[in-house]
Structure formats: C-alpha cells, structure tokens
Symmetry: C2
Subunit: 437 residues, 2 copies
C-alpha cells in the first residue's frame, strides 16, 4: 500500500474525507487520491521520496483558503495536509525572529507574539484561519501591505524538502545577506511547485501601540482614487488605505445594514505608531483627502466591519462571483477604475470593486451566475488593461489554476525561464503539477 | 575582428587600457582580453549574442569598487564596461519609481532625486562613485540598511539580457505581485553570472527632512554591543547605528587627528524623520545606550567624518589589509566580537573591527602585510564562527572570487541548486565565469 508508513488515522482514503481536500475558496474542484497528514519533516521527506520514486503528484495544502485554485488536487494526486505541523518552534525576541512550522495559523502566531510586543504584519483577509505555509507559498498580503509589504519581505530563512527528498535551508537568521543567489526569496510565492516548506523563520516588527482610523466618503470612484494618490505621494505612510466602490457599499448595506453613507465611493484609512503622532498623521491625511464626509473611528472595529463585510456580502448577492486581484501603480488607479467601469458595461457584467487601494491592489469582483466565455473575455480585457498600465495580474492571491492561462501575457520570455527552473528543480513534475504554468 | 560592430573608441585593446579594467578594490588581479563600452541595450544584445556563439566569457563591470573580486576578469575575458549607459530614463514621482540605466552613479541619482523629495536609501561606502548596476549585482547596502534594508528591497523591475541574447523584463511597476516566481529578486545579487542588466526600475522613498545624530563612547566592545542590542530591540528604528572598535578608533585618530575620545569602542547613531520627533527618538536611544560619553551631532558631517575615515585610515596603516563582511543576528554581536578578539590573538593578526552594528554587519579588517595560509585559516575560523551563530559570510559585498571557496560551508545542498540554475540559464558559462561558485 503506498505511503503506508504514515499511520492510518493520518492517512485518509475514504471518499467523504477525500472530498474535503478537493477544493479551495474558488469554484475549482479536483479529486484527491489520498490525503496524508505528516507531523514532522522526516515524514515529509519519506513521503516525497516515495512520490519521487513512483512519480506520484503531491499537492501541499494549508487551510485551503486559496483564491487561485492552487491547492486543488489534480485527479488522483496525493494531498499533503500540513496543518498538523503547527508548532511555534521559537521566538527570538531580541533578534525579532520567529521560527514556525508551516501549519501555524496566522492569527494564532500574532496572538502568541503579543506578549513579546512583536507582530508579523502581512494581514490577509483569511488571517484568522490561513496558515503561514500557505502565505509563504503565495507571497500573500492584505490590508497592511501598503505600509508593511508582503510575506516575502519577512521570510528570513526556510527549511524546504526538494522534489527528490533532499532538504535545504536557504536564507539566514541575519538581517541581510549578499552570499549567493536568493533562494529563500525565490521559494516564496512558488505555490508548492518547487519544494515543500517544513520550517519558516520570519522577521517580525514591534507591534504599534497607537492607532487612528477614519472612514471617508466621496462622490465617485475617481475622487477617491485621486485622494489615494495624494495621500500616498505625500509620504504620510498609512498602515491601511482601503477602497470600496458604490456597488460594494450598496451590497454591504443591503445585507448588513451598517448605516454606511450613500457614497459614490468610500476610503478607510488607518495610521499606526507608538504614540499620539498617529492621530496627527491621520489629520494630515484627512486634510489632503478632501472628502465629502469623514467619520473618525472612535470604535475602530466598527469602522472595519464594513470592509470585512465586503466579500461575504457580495457572495450572498452572487454566490458564484469571481474575485479578481489586479494591481497597478498608484498613479494609474483612476484609469483602471475607469476601465473596469467600461468592461462592466461592455460585457454586461455587474462588477463591484474594493481592495487595497493604497498599494494599487484592487479586487474587481465579477457578479456572475456562472463562468462562461463572456466572463473569460471580460477578465482577459481586465488583465490586458492592467498590464498596459504597468501592473500585475495577481497582487496577492497567486496564480494557481485561475491565472495560468494568462501568465504568458504578463511575463513573455520570463515565463520560459520560470518553466526551465521548475523543470530543473522538479524533473519528474511531481510537486503541485499543473499549477502556475 | 571580434565584436567589430562596436566603434573603435569604445572598443579598447591597448595593454594600458586593458590594465585599468583588470582589477577592483580587492587585491585580486585579472587580465582583460578586450574592453567593450556599449551605449545601448541593442549593443549589449549584439555583444552577448556574439559571445554566446563564440563561447567568449563576458564580465560586466560598473565602477569597479567591488570588495569581492566580482568584476575582475579571468585571463582573456571581454570586460563589458557599462558606465556609458548612464541615463536616468524616468522618475515617476507619484509612483515613487525611477528607471535608470545600469551605469548611473548612486550619488548622482540621489542628487537628481532631491528635487522630487525622494531618495534611494541603500547607502554604500562607495556611493559617490559606484553604479546602480553594480549595487543590484551585489545586493549592496550600507549604513542605512539597519532601517531601510538592502538594494533588493528597492528593485521593482529589471531589463536583463540573458546569456543567449534574449531580453526579459522581470518584475513590475506595481508595488507588489504574486504572479509567478520572483525572477527580478533572484537576479539581484547574482553578480553578473545570470544576465546583464540594461535597465533598472527602483522603488524610492520620501527623503527625510530632519536628522539627529550622536557619537557614544563605551569602555569596551562588549558594552557597545549590548547597547546596540537594547536600541534595536526597543523598536526605536535608528536610520544609522555604526560601530568602531578601539583599534579602528586609534588608527583613525593616528592618521586623521579628529579629536576622538579615548574609548574602548564608539557607536554612531542617527535618527531621521519628517519633524522634530527625530530629536526625541535620539534622546530615547541615548537613555537606553548608557554610554560613558555622548557627543550630540550639532555638525552631522563632522560626526560622520570619523566613520568615513575608518577604511582609508586602516589602509594607510596596512595597505594590503583584508576587509571582511560577516553578519550575525543582533543578539550574537557580543559573541562574534569576542570570537574576533580570540582569532586575532590565536593567529597573531591585528584585526580592527568596524561596521553596521545595527543590522549585525561587521567588517573585521585583517591588518596583514600579505595573504598567507595563516590568514586563510584565520578567515575560515571567522566564517565558521559566523555561521555557527546563524549568520552569513557576506552581508553586503558579495562573493566574487573572495568567498567562493566558502560557499559550501554556508549553503550546503543549496549550493547545488544555485549551480543547477546557473547552468540552466547560462549553459555555455560565458557570464562572469568563475565567480560566486
């Protein structure tokens, strides 16, 4: 029996068990042949060695919150569920480092770090359930990327099981290095196609102690986009700068009734720091923004509820929605928003757009009943518009199955290089095959 | 005649011309067979294509300030002098991006950016002459890395001529991306062995308007190292935190007579920001540091003169000195300093240590008359000590010829991967052969 060195309770074969490992947060569906739940690096090594010998595809998986189809297994693949490898191995407080296993949940890590006065800043929407391994695999980020960057910026060192079962430890505990090629950074965002992470050392930052937030209403998306440009180019460095268009605001209001203003667009802004300076910075940003209406966040959580409600509300309105993840240079925000409006009209598809405007990352959400050619054409036009503005087709969700067809459009000849490196590192194509390319 | 499509005045063949391209800032010496000075991407492509067809080694070169032997040509190689490609192509002020050719000098770029209120933070010691291309090739940094990170953190996009003459443009003008493997980041620090940069797009930051600096004297290196640990782990985020040991201070004083205090060790600290808050932060840091003597920097330039004089002064004392570049986690600073003292005694080699203590990057400088086996052994012991403390053998200078013999020690199996990727991307081994590995 294959992989029978894994004990029965961590080696799932029943159809109903396999089913729960055959999806992610997209509408892509696969069919796992077997699910293995290793508890140690040594087990991962043994699994990969057998897979390498037998040419069996392996799909590493964290919490399955992916928005790209990345962890959806191809027919008969072995799903490697890494959620049992969830130890926080060490926090080196003085060096601001934490070493964890890949299955540690983002929210749990930050909870644990509170007593050290530290935090791991990338803040994905799925943060309360998603795993650090998944975040590293997709170079994930979220509302705080505008100030704090993405997961890659915080990966100091990895332990990686390669396709042939060898183990490497790229990176360093030091704060910088010019010693050879940056393999650690290269593995970040590789979506399980180059190796399997068994240990991750993260750089941490001191957790701010002061926050100041506000909600700003604008007559239209263009005005909001211009305010974003002004705030960002001023150098005020907001920790959060979120955008919600009229469709999103109305849908949230319809399902949640939060008492949001009837606005053409909303911005949510937050400053953070270690003293009352955060309030001052917020006031400066508000001066620049020139909004129609400003609600200062005496209750921060209430303020954020609207933003957090965006995707759930839209999903109630259109359960089969397709959430996009384009990112453009800040100065191109007004133009991409205009293009999204044109695409919506041109293809007759309602689109609600929200996202991390502060770093140019928007989630235009196609409110469709099903995927069809019309949708595909509309998405392609969105990607072409994004690329023609100097942007990227995925800001934080990854490529997975969702965008592999568009990789040539963005990367051209670079895609050949990516494929060559993949073939060199995984010659039997057993690591998450069929993803990214 | 090879490469005769390059006009005569930019195609150097005379021995005295070749000689000036056969060295860098180390004592490594090579012998260029030919020097080509292209002025455009198209010329670089033509050169690389001919080199690929004929199997001719090419060594890309900026200002030649390398401290690793990276640009030193092997016998008969073609040196590609990129200093004529020195256009600042575009500054996108609102997106905080600058696109430049590789030969642009660091200092000139920052001078140019002043009128935009922006800057490119990595601040190498050779900043007034070194090129952006060289900085990207070595992932260079300097005294501001403690706060602002290294060159890699600022590379948004590259234009790269590959070994076969194809051109790729990895990266994006957007502020983040999860679209495929991070090729742009991977090319940073590749030391000319994977491709030749013909265009570089850098992320920029708003230039601080306020600075506050001080010089702190301590009875010994251990006390200074402990102060560094306290300041860094406090989260105060100094822009500069430099260390000079007793040997360095005494040598600077001997040759420059700057009136430095007779201290066991000095720290130089600088806070920056956009208002008087910088002064406040400095006072907080000084409280933590608990120094014997503090000199606040009413004249910042005077304060920095001592640090800038370190290497030139040591070079007058020992013209054949060997400058090292180890980096350890901050908490290990006291231990590595102790080990350096032991190595100095054990091998009978005077060592003066200075460097960017704030990010754990030290430059122990072996004050030798010539390279011999004793020195090699001492260096090896330093590298072993560094690695056993979780550090890296090069913090900012790169590997070049200087450290290729020690790469296995640091990287183990990872080194195989680096070699595989090199062989895949440069199958004829024509791009800066014999470097890094």
């Amino acid at each position: 029996m294959p992989f029978d060195f894994i004990s029965e309770e961590r080696r799932l074969t029943q159809p109903e068990e396999l089913l729960t490992y055959s999806y992610d947060a997209t509408d892509h569906r696969g069919r796992a042949g077997l699910v293995l739940r290793p508890v140690s690096k040594d087990e991962v090594v043994e699994i990969v060695k057998e897979a390498y010998e037998t040419g069996t595809p392996i799909v590493p998986r964290g919490a399955g919150t992916s928005l790209s189809g990345g962890p959806v297994p191809e027919e008969g693949a072995v799903v490697l569920d890494l959620t049992l490898m969830d130890r926080i191995i060490e926090v080196q407080e003085r060096d601001r480092l934490a070493t964890v296993e890949p299955g540690v949940v983002y929210g749990r890590l930050n909870k644990h770090l509170e007593s050290h006065g530290l935090f791991f800043p990338p803040d994905p929407g799925s943060g309360s359930v998603c795993t650090i391994g998944g975040m590293v695999a997709t170079n994930s980020s979220g509302i705080r990327a505008v100030k704090y960057g993405t997961t890659r910026d915080y990966v100091a060192r990895l332990e990686v099981v390669l396709a042939d079962g060898r183990v490497i430890e790229p990176g360093t505990y030091a704060r910088k290095s010019s010693s050879g090629y940056d393999l650690a950074g290269f593995f970040v965002g590789s979506e399980g196609t180059l190796g399997i992470f068994t240990e991750i050392t993260l750089r941490l930052l001191p957790k701010p102690t002061h926050y100041a937030a506000a909600r700003l209403a604008f007559p239209g998306a263009a005005e909001a986009a211009r305010a974003v440009g002004k705030i960002i180019s001023s150098g005020l460095n907001p920790a959060v700068l979120e955008f919600m268009d009229k469709n999103t605001v109305q849908t949230v209001e319809k399902y949640m009734g939060l008492g949001l203003p009837e606005a053409g667009a909303l911005l949510l802004i937050e400053m953070d720091g270690f003293d009352q300076g955060a309030d001052l910075l917020l006031e400066k940003a508000l001066d620049l923004a020139d909004a129609e209406e400003v609600e200062r966040g005496t209750d921060r959580q209430a303020l954020w509820r609207a933003r957090k409600a965006a995707l759930p509300s839209l999903a109630r309105y259109a359960p089969n929605l397709v959430l996009e993840d384009v990112t453009v240079p800040i100065s191109k925000l007004p133009e991409i928003l205009e293009r999204i409006g044109e695409i919506s009209k041109g293809y007759g598809i309602p689109i609600a757009t929200f996202g991390h405007a502060g770093d140019g990352n928007l989630h235009p959400t196609f409110l469709v009943e099903e995927r069809d050619e019309n949708l595909e054409e509309a998405m392609k036009e969105l990607f072409q518009a994004t690329l023609s503005l100097g942007g990227t087709i995925s800001g934080e969700h990854g490529v997975g199955l969702e965008k592999k067809g568009f990789m040539g459009l963005e990367h051209g000849t670079s895609l050949d290089l990516m494929k060559k490196i993949k073939a060199e590192l995984d010659p039997k194509n057993i690591l998450n095959p069929g993803k990214v390319f």
